[in-house]
């Protein structure tokens, strides 16, 4: 036997170290369990000076921050992206899906937008409203206690608004709006579009002695060296280690499959160590998958055994199906009232200080689900791309565009901070025919069969995107702005981003009471093997018009409480 087996038996092995895996690491280790955390990328700590990109200047990068090396530019914290050398994936029938993967401790939480929204009761039971998709087997009251605990443990700012579909939580106070956000508020109100303070997981106030308070550099995508934003390493895994948790971290370890015994129960996992390219196994009483929705589905589908010939958890042929991402489309506008601005530091938090939650009744519209609007703009730090088409907005004043010489210096200053942009992020309907599966013909560099995607948007999403652009046009008009591009038409699916581009992919191991149509039960426990759990976004039945992270965290915590209880009762 050439596969190297560890003799140690862990109480739990956790695959992945992002939001779901980080939370599982904290909760299970603090319950006294002996844990292995297996992460496909290197260790990362934003306070490590060798890894820190926060507070760097553009000239420190020879490419001035361009995105030729890292997906979101040189200063973004993320290792990984939609294309990773040696880790291909394929697409079926000419359909599109772009699969984003992080490869680092903490995963995507190191660079995400920190938009931290709770799902509402309607979000969990939306089939009751419009007959589409499926209801979750749980509702808001099941998750609320965990949302509350996540709020207090991790911290987020926001405001109590008493909106039925945007449940309030335990908020830190939000920062004041920036100038362009005041323009947005004013413009939106003319059309009765509500705007409220955004809800994001940065600390505007101290929540414990260990973590810093936001110092408003606007660089949360670089991951905060003071731990004033939520990243799974900074806020969950490192504190769990400091609390004396028994945690073995396996970095650069690419998990291949879950191993099972003759009774069909999991005995551990196998992984490939990227350093020596050998296969190893780890043994554990419980396996917790948190590798991201599609990666966890891939691991399950590759875990074939006599007891699970169709892949682990796949007796109902549901693994990989119902894959769905948020819809996304955006526009931007030049706002003449924002030219010739006085200079001051308006970096603020990383991202928007205000946003628009979904505000309309879909019964009166030709598409079933809503979207929220994110806002951007301001006098940000110059980076690669700053100064491109420097005086293009001269065209709105009937002035010549182009040229050379020192007049460009005044053009650059004139237009600095005069653009406002909008991003619509909406709910799509989970459909059985949007899925990932194993492509038996293609291998990755670790010898593991890869995923193949099949995904089409439907008219539900296309009509929603069309509505987004009608809204953007109205907002731009109300702000006295000039759209920088025309609303995309039907030929471009109304500007809908390709599925996968919004990086909210969920649903591949969905939750339900019926093993024939779902993969896990309400505690995210496999119907087919009771010591395997999934705590990433795979179990989402529907994604709401919300960003998934806060719900991943709450559900992971809920599942971990259940695991500890079941272990105590010797049920698993």
């Amino acid at each position: 036997m050439q596969i190297k087996e560890s003799s140690k038996i862990y109480d739990a092995v956790i695959v992945g170290s992002g939001a779901g895996g980080g939370m599982a690491t904290k909760i299970l280790s603090e319950a006294g369990l002996n844990i292995a955390v297996v992460e496909a990328g290197p260790h990362f700590d934003p306070s490590n000076p060798d890894q820190q990109t926060q507070m760097k200047w553009p000239w420190e990068s020879p490419r001035r921050g361009a995105n030729t090396q890292r997906t979101f530019g040189d200063f973004d914290a993320l290792y990984g992206g939609w294309d990773i050398p040696g880790e291909p994936y394929t697409r079926k029938d000419g359909t599109k899906f772009d699969w984003f993967r992080a490869r680092m401790l903490g995963g995507r939480t190191n660079h995400w937008g920190r938009i931290s929204l709770r799902f509402s009761e309607r979000d969990f039971k939306h089939k009751d409203v419009d007959g589409l998709g499926d209801n979750w087997p749980i509702g808001y009251e099941d998750v609320k206690p965990y949302y509350d605990k996540v709020d207090k443990l991790i911290g987020l700012f926001g405001s109590k608004e008493n909106l039925p579909n945007e449940p309030d939580g335990f908020f830190l106070p939000p920062p004041k709006p920036r100038l362009h956000e005041l323009f947005y508020i004013k413009g939106a109100r003319k059309s009765n579009i509500p705007v409220i303070p955004s809800r994001m997981s940065m600390l505007t106030k101290k929540i414990n002695p260990e973590r810093g308070v936001c110092f408003y550099c606007g660089q949360c995508n670089r991951s905060c060296s003071a731990y004033a934003d939520f990243s799974a390493g900074s806020c969950l895994i490192f504190p769990a280690q400091k609390n004396g948790g028994q945690i073995d971290l396996y970095n650069n370890a690419m998990v291949r499959e879950v191993l099972t015994n003759s009774e069909g129960k999991a005995t551990g996992i196998s992984y490939i160590d990227k350093a020596d390219r050998k296969e190893y196994t780890l043994r554990a009483k419980v396996v917790v998958l948190a590798a991201s929705a599609c990666s966890s589905a891939r691991i399950l589908l590759n875990s074939k055994s006599p007891q699970h010939p169709n892949g682990l958890g796949n007796s109902g042929n549901t693994v990989g199906k119902y894959l769905h991402d948020s819809t996304g489309s955006g526009r931007s506008a030049f706002v003449p009232d924002l030219v010739n601005r006085k200079m001051y530091n308006e970096d603020g938090v990383g991202g928007m200080h205000v946003y628009t939650p979904w505000w309309l009744d879909n019964k009166k519209l030709d598409f079933p689900r809503g979207y929220h609007i994110e806002v951007w703009g301001g006098m940000g730090m110059p980076n690669y791309g700053f100064g491109f088409n420097a005086n293009e907005y001269n065209k709105f004043f009937g002035l010549k565009v182009g040229g050379y010489g020192n007049s460009l210096r005044s053009d650059v200053k004139k237009y600095y901070g005069s653009v406002v942009g909008f991003g619509g992020r909406g709910e799509s309907i989970a459909m059985e025919d949007n899925y990932c599966e194993i492509d038996p013909s293609v291998v990755d560099q670790f010898g593991i069969p890869v995923l193949r995607f099949h995904y089409n948007w439907s008219d539900f999403e296309r009509k929603q995107a069309k509505h987004m652009h009608e809204t953007f046009d109205e907002l731009i008009h109300n702000m006295g702005g000039e759209a920088l591009s025309a609303a995309p038409g039907a030929d471009r699916e109304y500007g809908l981003e390709a599925p996968g581009r919004i990086i909210h992919e969920v649903g591949t191991t969905r939750m339900g009471n019926d093993p024939k149509t779902s993969v896990v039960n309400q505690f995210q426990q496999l119907h087919d093997a009771n010591n395997v759990f999934i705590v990433d976004a795979g179990p989402f039945v529907s994604q709401a018009d919300k960003n998934p992270t806060w719900t991943i965290l709450a559900l992971s915590w809920r599942t971990c409480d259940y695991i500890v209880e079941q272990l105590k009762m010797q049920n698993i």
Partner: protein, 237 residues
């Protein structure tokens, strides 16, 4: 001037641009200068990323003549003024050299564009572009510096596209230097406490904060107090 000297002189120009402003932010300038002097980076690269950057630095794409032409052209696009140096003297040609290696799709349009400039200069004035009198250089630039916006970018004449690319790279290269950021007046990338838009700016733009909205926002005097809430989620501290 041989190639090595040419690169060296451009390089010294870049370092001097940084030095002139060193007094504003000494610790950052020191870092940046070290990076410029050694080619080593200090901005959170992984070992693999650093190796890739070092490999790009070890190559040379543009010839000495092309670099000299780039220095002339970038200084025409953004010349010095009373307060600030030209783009060429804060290392923009070096930045373009790096980008041509980092993003190879730039190589042919820039190399060919420079050749086009020399061709038209030779035809018209019997000299390469870099050796023309400024008035002659301006005469050529006047013809290529103003794109016709009614024509889509990809359909414009090659020389217009070349000049637009050079203007973009020159401005982005300049405004991402310490000098450029000072020229622009960007005030951020500094630890601070955001407490809203300054009143005179609100006044200038005819904006005001609403009391009801401000009442929700952080009172920055309390930012250091550890948060606690009552059971309804009302903040107590």
């Amino acid at each position: 001037m041989d190639r090595r000297e040419s690169i060296k002189s451009l390089f010294i120009g870049a370092a001097a641009g940084g030095l002139a402003l060193a007094s504003c932010q000494p610790e950052i300038s020191a870092e940046a200068q070290e990076a410029m002097a050694t080619g080593a980076t200090n901005y959170g690269r992984t070992p693999e990323e650093d190796a890739q950057i070092a490999a790009l630095h070890a190559q040379q794409f543009f010839t000495p003549h092309e670099l000299e032409s780039l220095a002339i052209l970038t200084a025409l696009i953004l010349p010095e003024n009373e307060d600030f140096p030209s783009a060429a003297s804060v290392g923009v040609p070096d930045f373009i050299e790096f980008m041509a290696k980092d993003y190879p799709a730039f190589q042919t349009p820039i190399r060919g564009g420079l050749m086009w400039l020399d061709h038209i200069s030779n035809r018209r004035f019997g000299l390469e572009f870099k050796k023309l009198e400024p008035a002659q250089q301006h005469e050529i630039l006047e013809e290529i510096a103003y794109p016709d916006l009614a024509v889509s970018e990809g359909a414009r004449p090659l020389e217009v596209r070349f000049f637009s690319l050079m203007r973009n790279l020159t401005l982005t290269g300049y405004y991402t230097t310490e000098t450029g950021i000072k020229d622009l007046g960007y005030q951020g990338n500094m630890p601070n406490v955001w407490d809203g838009v300054p009143q005179e700016v609100l006044d200038q733009h005819g904006m005001a904060y609403e009391e009801a909205w401000l009442a929700k926002c952080i009172d920055q005097k309390t930012r250091g107090n550890i948060a606690s809430w009552d059971e309804q989620g009302n903040l107590l501290t």
